[in-house]
Structures are given as C-alpha cells and as structure tokens.
C-alpha cells in the first residue's frame, strides 16, 4: 500500500526556515487580502501577476506596461493603479493585462518559499479548485500562513485548518501545528464570522472601512482559478492547461 502524503501547516512566515520547503508543494495563504485578490485578478483576465518586494520595483514595471497594485499597512499606496482590495480588481478592466503587485505580507511569503517543489496561492474564493489540484498531485503539502508581520493570524490559520481537514483521509497529519489549525477550523466552521470578528487584522481592516473586503474574502469558490508561481510570476494554471 502506498503511504499517503503528509499535509502540514506553517503558522507564520517567520517559521518557514524550520521546514525543508524543497520537500513540499507549498500553498501560500494571505486571506486578507493578497491571495484573495490574486484569484480575482486572474479570473478577470490578467495574464500574469508579478509579486515584487518594493514600491520602486513596482514603479519600474509600470514603465514596462504593467498595471500596478501596491499596499502598505493595509492601505493603497498613492500613485499606483490599485491597492490590494479584491474590489479594486473586480471593478477594473483587466483582460489581457499584466499586473505588478507589492504587499506587506503575501509577497514576502512567496519569496521565502521559492525553493519549494511547486508553489500555488490559496484562498476561500478558489478553495475547491485548490483541493482538487492538491489531491491530484499526490505529493506532500505545506500550507504556509503569511500572517501579519511575522505574527500568527486567525484568518490564515482557519483557512489552513479548512484545507487540512478536507485533505485528511487522502493525506496524513502527524504534527501539532496542523492539529491546532484543524481544531480551530472545526470549532469555528459554523462561527467563522464570529471568529474573524475577533481577529486583530480584521479589526484593523474594519477601522479602515474594509468590512466588505473581509466579507468577500470569506466566500467560497467565487473564482475558479489556480494562481501558480513560477519564474517570478503567478499565472492561472487552469487556463494554461486548458
């Protein structure tokens, strides 16, 4: 009998060095809001998203014809086309465009896992597509929560717990961080909104008037895309393979 592959959770970007990412397919998670917005932008027709670490790199790509999205401290940075609200992309004409993207947490996580076997981005809005693809790979999976400035956060942990719970059966679980995320999700499943309303990052977003972003980011399967990271860009793997 073939041994089922492992599914594990990394609760913060600061913990990435404690994993051998080369052994895993990595799912980068930044529910509020980078990975949610990646899915929206790709579903709206963006051909590639180039995550970059700095505002300067983002500006340089603007001169090469990229649209630009820039967020710092949960706010859109003036002078760029978009922030990282999903609604920025829902309401824009993006067909055939390329997008340069810099955010506080999500783009750092992508860089930190660059040596993984394969890298995809996950969010509630592409959850079913992600699960189908992970099951088909039959490889160990590491779910990497971006967190907030190196700290563990609730929304990414809940999503990682949801994915691990769905995968259990086809995958093995053998570590405590994964058990903790799964327990949290199973407890919160019917109270997700309650939990998130107690999250620290949620409070920051609400103070900034972004409740509708949160509500949108918790809806499932709105965008059937699979952001796949290779050679410095995210593309929709489903469209490439179609």
């Amino acid at each position: 009998m073939r041994l089922r592959p492992l599914v594990r959770v990394c609760l913060s970007t600061a913990l990435i060095p404690t994993f051998k990412v080369e052994d895993y397919i990595v799912v980068v998670i930044d529910i509020l809001r980078a990975t949610t917005s990646f899915c929206v932008a790709l579903d709206k027709g963006v051909t590639e998203i180039r995550p970059v670490p700095s505002l300067r790199a983002c500006r340089r790509l603007a001169r090469e014809g990229y649209l630009t999205a820039a967020e710092r401290g949960a706010q859109k940075v003036p002078g760029f086309d978009f922030g990282n609200s999903p609604f920025d992309f829902l309401e824009a004409d993006l067909q055939g465009k390329k997008l340069a993207f810099t955010t506080t947490n999500g783009t750092r996580a992508l860089w930190a896992v660059r040596k993984a076997k394969k890298i995809v981005a996950g969010a509630f809005v592409n959850m079913s597509v992600l699960l189908t693809w992970l099951r088909a790979q039959e490889e160990p999976v590491l779910l990497v929560c971006s967190g907030w400035k190196d700290h563990v956060n609730l929304e990414d942990t809940l999503f990682a717990g949801a994915i691990a719970t769905e995968l259990e059966g086809d995958f093995r679980v053998n570590d405590d961080a994964t058990l903790i995320a799964m327990s949290l999700y199973q407890m919160a499943e019917h109270r997700k909104k309650y939990y998130l309303e107690h999250s620290a990052h949620f409070e920051r977003l609400v103070e900034l008037g972004m409740q509708r972003d949160v509500k949108y980011s918790l809806r499932r399967d709105l965008h059937p895309v699979l952001p796949y990271y290779k050679d410095g860009v995210l593309i929709d793997l489903l469209r490439v393979q179609a």
Copy 2:
C-alpha cells in the same frame, strides 16, 4: 483608569525574535517535561538549577559538586544522574543540592529570552502559584511555548491558552496567536487527555514508555514553587521571599 497589561503567547522558540522580550515578564513553558521537572526538583529541596546548553557543560558542573540531569531526544543520557522525567526527581534525595540540567528544548528557550524583564518557568504542576504571582506583577506577560525542535506543540499551546484564559479580565488580549491558544484550551478543557493523546510529542513519549510522565505533567498544583531565572540559575522565588 489604568490600562490593563497585555498577555501574549509566543507559539515556538523560533518566533521569539519576533517579540521584544525586554518589554515582558516571560513565562517559559515546556510541559513535557523540562518545566514540570524544574518544579518537582525545586519542591524537593534543590537550592538551584543551572540550565546549560551542552552535555559537556553539564559534566563540568558535576566536577564542581552539582547533580546532573541530561536529556536528548526524550531519553536520559547515560553517565548522568537523571534524565528529565519528573519521577527521576520525585524519587531522589535532593535536599540542599544543586542541579545542572540540559534538555532539547526547554534550556534553549530560557537562553533565547534572557533579556526579558523577569523570567519564570510554568507548568500545570505550579499553575496556581504562577497565576497569583503574574497578577501581582501588573506587567505585560509573554507566554513562551518551547515547542519541539522549533515546531509548535499541543501541550505547551494548551497550557499557554489556560494561563491566558485565567488572566483575561485582569489582562488584555489583542493578538491572534493568543486567541488561538485560548480557543484551543477552552475547547480542550474537558478533553485535555484526548487532545494530548493526539499530540506528536505525546506519541513519542508513549513509544518510549513514558505515559506516567505525561499523566503526572497534566496534574495541577502538585508543586507550589515558582522557578525564577536570574544570573544563569533557577531558584524557587517563594522560598527566597519567605
């Protein structure tokens, strides 16, 4: 009105650099088994425990008259007086003795937080003494889970969640890692044994025949001591102040 001090949870030694430990009273937690055994040894009359990083340092102190405890990979190291099982100390004559102690996780955590305002060790076996002392300090508290080789573990997270839950009211909670630990504890409170039986480290200990250590480590208030770390040694603060 005076603002209540914060209580926070650090889920792994690998996350310690993401906190400014200078701002906190730190509680080091290594339930299975270092901080549990510190409490036993101090309660049995040890005058000081000197945690050291290496077996060599432990041997050198033996020549200076210290008793020695050495654990690696959950096993007692041959040639030393004790491992880190609480029963090693329960069954020994320790009155007036000094003890050098080296373990896989717990002693590393003590070193990593050495710049904190004050440092104490916590376990279920000294829980009430710890809570009383923390409330009296009126300072921010950081609960540091030693974990297992940099990975988050269940038993330390549960204990941190228990302490944060008990302190809430007198203290403020404003971050997600703390909420996660508290949720886990509140869910597990009546199923602590069930939870721990699913923990990875528990499985390791059971494979090594150490179920009674686990059972002992989960009992509350057996040892009314407060291991206090200063100038490289742990002493019982209650005895010093008495």
